[in-house]
């Protein structure tokens, strides 16, 4: 019974990683850059929802919407100001800028909201279910997180494969120059990617803070890095890969904690990453890039 409950906790933690990883993977796939500020957009999403729900007294649903709107705008603004001027710059410059944006957001939050941790108010009022006479508890947040993850992955796949904007994204991800020649507005497409990625970050932020109700300016940093690992794990750039990578990462982390050592759990997670990358360098769902001669 303990095993089952560990497994459920793992899937729950993994779903949060998966939603964050989706944002990473989309931006990487299309703009070919690692947006290290992604974790901090999650934190901003958490604060936006917190302010709307606790300070302004709005309902949880509006809180989530406010959070999504704030993060979407923030994502687009960051892209416009920090990343767009570097479109032609070497990847290293963009990477360093992303790290700079990450620190900027953290310190801005520190300035605006202070360093003290706040207890987040869960947006999910549904109590969850209790199985096997209370031995197995599945909380409402867990169920909603898993459901949200599935809905998002299905929605994203449909969007990318069935809509014109999604097709444009695919085209930009495959060959930016050729896409531009075909009349696709590359800048608009990349901005749209950032908007979607940041909206996902808002949802991830609200769910993360609901499942683990503590919010401070560094809330997004570690989950952000773990989700990046999950994205690489699943094959960065691949939408189903991000989901599978995230959930696997969550399960491995929890099971390693439970059965091997609570102290070594992180070491085991990262060791797994190294092994997977040695065996399959592009990740589980990664596409093999064929060299043309």
């Amino acid at each position: 019974m303990s095993f089952l409950s560990y497994l459920i906790n793992g899937v729950s933690l993994g779903s949060v990683y998966a939603i964050i990883a989706l944002g990473y993977t989309m931006v990487y796939g299309i703009a070919k850059m690692l947006n290290f500020a992604h974790g901090d957009i999650i934190m901003v999403g958490g604060y936006a929802a917190f302010l709307a729900m606790v300070n302004a007294g709005l309902s949880p649903l509006i809180g989530v919407l406010v959070s999504i709107v704030v993060c979407t705008l923030l994502g687009v603004v960051i892209e416009r100001i920090a990343y767009k001027p570097l479109r032609m710059a070497p990847p290293l410059a963009v990477l360093i800028t992303a790290i700079g944006v990450s620190y900027f957001l953290q310190n801005l939050a520190l300035l605006l909201f202070g360093a003290d941790t706040k207890t987040f108010k869960s947006v999910i009022s549904f109590k969850g279910i209790s199985l096997a006479g209370g031995a197995l508890q599945i909380s409402g947040v867990t169920i909603v997180t898993i459901a949200a993850c599935i809905v998002i992955v299905v929605g994203l796949s449909l969007f990318i494969n069935k809509t014109r904007a999604g097709q444009a994204m695919l085209a930009v991800s495959e060959d930016r120059g050729a896409a531009q020649l075909m009349g696709i507005n590359v800048n608009k497409t990349i901005a749209l990617t950032f908007a979607i990625g940041s909206a996902l970050a808002a949802i991830a932020g609200v769910l993360l803070c609901s499942a683990y109700p503590s919010l401070n300016p560094y809330t997004g940093a570690m989950p952000g890095i773990k989700a990046f690992v999950a994205a690489v794990f699943g094959g960065i750039g691949s939408v189903p890969g991000a989901m599978v990578g995230g959930i696997l990462l969550g399960i491995i982390e929890i099971l390693a904690k439970a059965y091997i050592s609570s102290q070594l759990a992180d070491a085991i997670v990262f060791a797994m990453l190294i092994i997977i990358l040695l065996v399959k360098p592009t990740g589980i769902f990664g596409k093999k890039i064929q060299e043309k001669v």
Partner: protein, 392 residues
């Protein structure tokens, strides 16, 4: 090209503004310290994290120290000499702590209240020992924080807390089988756990589960709690800071697991956590040197003055820092030091005086210090009932 020109103009303007702003700040810092017409003053430095993860502790120390020094100056200073102070941010980092210390030395600091956190303190104390500069740490609990003779501490040490916790639990028969959840990456948490485990054995308590976490994975505690539950622990001992403890309490409730919980001084502050459901902490026991609800006049006045000045309820870090400033005053007056003495002369005189004074403050009564820098101080156990501390 034109754009670049405009940009560089803006940059130059910004630089000029910041340069002037820097001047303005220096001026005001001096005035704040209350130096009176060029006469000699004591210069007391302080260090702690004002930004970063542990910023809440450093800010509390800064405020507590500032409040005490303002009061001391209003009451005539130390032995008739006014006090100037300056506080530097160290981000709870050893390297930055040494940088902060050096900055303060350039400012001609004569005594140091700091550092706030154990890790940075261990690095800084080696430097202050070389300079023979008197140092009192308000809240550096690790053993090595005061390993040299120039360093003293205001709080109790990690081993003392671990040992006293185990003794307290055994003496009052609170539980027989105990699970511990601790942060293996943190000197504070680890130090308490090790000594708790040692003493628990002597006291006949059984530790049925000892589960670690690290600062990198301090969100999900489902596994640790599940293991404690499976091992049948009646009590879960939580030697950690309250932010993580609040997550553990919430998770335990969600799991329907209701053992008793026992924490140390890092737990202090849990009731003031913004938006925290205090009913989760109902029945939580903790050791603390300071309680805002204590009814003595001294505590009441301090809490009121602190709230007026900073708009928040003080925690034990603020109280320890406040006491530290008054300890410096007591020892300095005992030693009869003068502001024109050199740093090492002051250091020698203060070291001797510290072992001779007896101090009563917010965090303890009739405290004395040994040459090892450790205070004689008894932690007080409190229990949370109806959202407030009740002495046990």
């Amino acid at each position: 090209m034109k754009k670049k020109k405009i940009l560089s103009l803006i940059l130059v303007a910004a630089m000029a503004v910041t340069a002037f702003a820097g001047c303005g700040k220096k001026e005001s810092a001096k005035n704040e310290g209350g130096s009176s017409e060029g006469s000699a003053v004591f210069k007391i430095g302080g260090t702690g994290p004002l930004t970063g993860d542990a910023a809440i502790y450093g800010t509390a120390v800064k405020n507590g120290m500032e409040l005490a020094i303002k009061e001391i100056n209003e009451a005539g200073g130390i032995g008739g000499v006014q006090v100037e102070y300056k506080f530097e941010d160290d981000e709870a980092d050893a390297e930055k702590g040494v940088n902060a210390y050096n900055t303060l030395k350039d400012w001609k600091m004569q005594m140091l209240i700091g550092t706030t956190t154990s890790g940075a303190c261990e690095a800084v104390v080696a430097e202050s020992h070389n300079d023979n500069l008197f140092q009192i740490t308000p809240s550096g609990t690790s053993i090595n924080s005061v390993k040299y003779d120039n360093a003293f501490r205001m709080c109790f040490s990690d081993p003392a807390q671990g040992t006293v916790s185990a003794q307290y639990i055994a003496k009052n028969n609170l539980a027989k089988s105990i699970a511990v959840i601790y942060n293996s990456g943190d000197t504070y948490s680890n130090g308490i756990y090790e000594n708790f485990a040692k003493e628990a054995k002597n006291q006949g308590l059984e530790i049925v589960a000892a589960e670690a976490f690290t600062s990198e994975s301090n969100k999900d505690f489902s596994v640790q709690l599940q293991k404690a539950k499976d091992a049948g622990a009646e009590m879960v001992f939580l030697p950690m800071y309250y932010t993580e403890a609040s997550l553990i309490l919430a998770k335990a409730k969600e799991m329907g697991y209701a053992p008793s919980f026992f924490g140390c001084d890092g737990m202090d502050g849990i009731l003031t956590l913004e938006n925290f459901d205090t009913s989760l902490a109902e029945g939580l026991m903790l050791l603390t040197p300071f309680s805002v609800d204590a009814e003595d006049e001294k505590t009441q006045n301090f809490v009121k003055a602190y709230k007026d000045a900073y708009g928040e309820t003080p925690n034990q870090f603020a109280a320890d820092a406040y006491d530290s400033a008054y300890v410096i005053k007591a020892a300095a007056e005992k030693a009869g030091i003068k502001p024109d003495m050199s740093v090492t002369e002051i250091g020698d005189a203060m070291k001797k005086a510290m072992t001779e004074i007896e101090f009563t403050g917010l965090t303890g009564t009739n405290i004395t210090w040994g040459e090892d820098g450790e205070p004689t101080k008894e932690p007080i156990a409190v229990k949370i009932e109806n959202g407030a501390y009740v002495f046990m």
